[in-house]
Symmetry: C2
Subunit: 334 residues, 2 copies
Amino acid sequence: MQKIGKQTVKFDVPPTISATASIVGPKEADGPLASYFDQCLDDEFWGEKSWEKAESKIIKETVNMAIAKSGIPSEKIDYCFAGDLLNQCISSSFGLRELNIPFLGIFGACSTFVEALCLASVFLESGAGEHAICAASSHFCSAEKQFRFPLELGNQRPPTSQWTVTGAGCAVVSKNGYGPYITHITPGKIIDMGIKDANNMGAAMAPAALDTLITHFKDTGRNPSYYDAIFTGDLGYIGKDILIEMSESKGYQIKSNYNDCGVMIFNKEKQDTHSGGSGCACCGSVFSGYLFKMLQQKKYKKILLIATGALTNSTTSQQGESIPGIAHAVAIEL
Amino acid sequence: MQKIGKQTVKFDVPPTISATASIVGPKEADGPLASYFDQCLDDEFWGEKSWEKAESKIIKETVNMAIAKSGIPSEKIDYCFAGDLLNQCISSSFGLRELNIPFLGIFGACSTFVEALCLASVFLESGAGEHAICAASSHFCSAEKQFRFPLELGNQRPPTSQWTVTGAGCAVVSKNGYGPYITHITPGKIIDMGIKDANNMGAAMAPAALDTLITHFKDTGRNPSYYDAIFTGDLGYIGKDILIEMSESKGYQIKSNYNDCGVMIFNKEKQDTHSGGSGCACCGSVFSGYLFKMLQQKKYKKILLIATGALTNSTTSQQGESIPGIAHAVAIEL
């Protein structure tokens, strides 16, 4: 591999995504992408006694499903890169504690799934292993309870708020294979433009997406039209509009081939999620469920996936802090 | 690089640790290693209004100091791998938000510092960059507040409990240099032996340390006496004794050249920390402050550093869960 430009790594022998799996909750099952997910749950508990335990079960079963679909024996998998939104990333560490695969916990908030793809790609192309798991989860109920208010209170959500996706996505990445390939990664910097509204994550994260997007184009010499499609992870409606406008002001026209997983996963008219979906599982399940199948069916041949994260929590909001954002990008090509 | 055995990566051109820095709090300043740290603070707030903000300032200043000591311009540093114990890793993301270096957030609980060294080593030897920052922090007051009880309550601590180190450690790792070198890494699996006592982290983490230790020996064909010294991150007195006993039962004698950073950082008689120190900064500051200088002075030529983490939080304890442990190892040699 080689580093090109300021922040991008180009792979000489690009790692391949061997298989993906996705499990989502009941609200996602009512959305437009329902038929693409491997499993849709009837309720948020899935037989468990708490939302946290349910989220752990979701990521566990998603990872097991991805391994089974890949056909790779789990003892041949060298690394697991995983994370989630819960305090101390408990859904991934508890869900995956029986996995028996070296575990490298990561936290990139909602950018976690793409951060995992970045790390796995470098590890595999470098010769540190043959196969790696990349996984991330989130859960509407556990996230609301932890970041905002107890659901039982029935608090009103402002129009800028987004709906945390319940589910998990998992990709098995392999050193060798038949594609789709991860050809480039552009890990992002933390960007904090001073947004303090914890109910407007799209606005807080859009500047980070812009920074990584433009850096990726400059580093690679590519422009937006090189890609069949560009996807952000969970900017939602507001963040998506901001990104389009800011990109245009920088001379990059992305409007015609850009969409956001948080916009795609729910139906705007029928499902009242306000500014769209969010959470680690938003990008994770939309990629693992929908985008990977589009690549397999050659409906897309070149995509750029940029997952954004808001590196914040309820304590920092209460202490008057702004919201640092981050965005990591991977170019996936046939 | 090449993968050897089950979980170990051996570097053909081992990355070098170019510089380290450490800042610690007032209790650590009263301990036996005080003279080795770059800076000792007079109080836990360091002029900030909250413990969280103080912890962010500690990791920020530690990273800046390490960069300054390395002599490497910060724009030449390709990656920052960092994490901490606070919910959503806010001390590292807020502390390092102005760093302007691609940021890959990690969470390995108290194993975070060594997890960062593992990731950075692979990234640099692979050609993905020239220099990387590895940093981790913890803070007694923010950790007690978050994981246990408000400090103001003055709760009694059981004899098995450990004292979270206030401070941060940072290492600048470079692709090329004059050593000390990271020659091998052994990332660990999650091991959960069913320990449920949240006030006995040493016992919960010792089985993970054992698993990684023995795997490292088997993978490399080395035995304990190969190393001048073996250090765990924060098993404390109880965990250290358990690890010595369990290693012996598996045929590995580590008693004569093994110690634990949590045992080393506080004075057992004069500083009543019960079972010793803990936290991301325990291993981070003891390595960055003390062990790195011992390597530079050639008092140690070969060490094995194994940082352990308890992948738990207060919610999982309240929900009756046991405590999954993890341990990552790096071999550092001249």
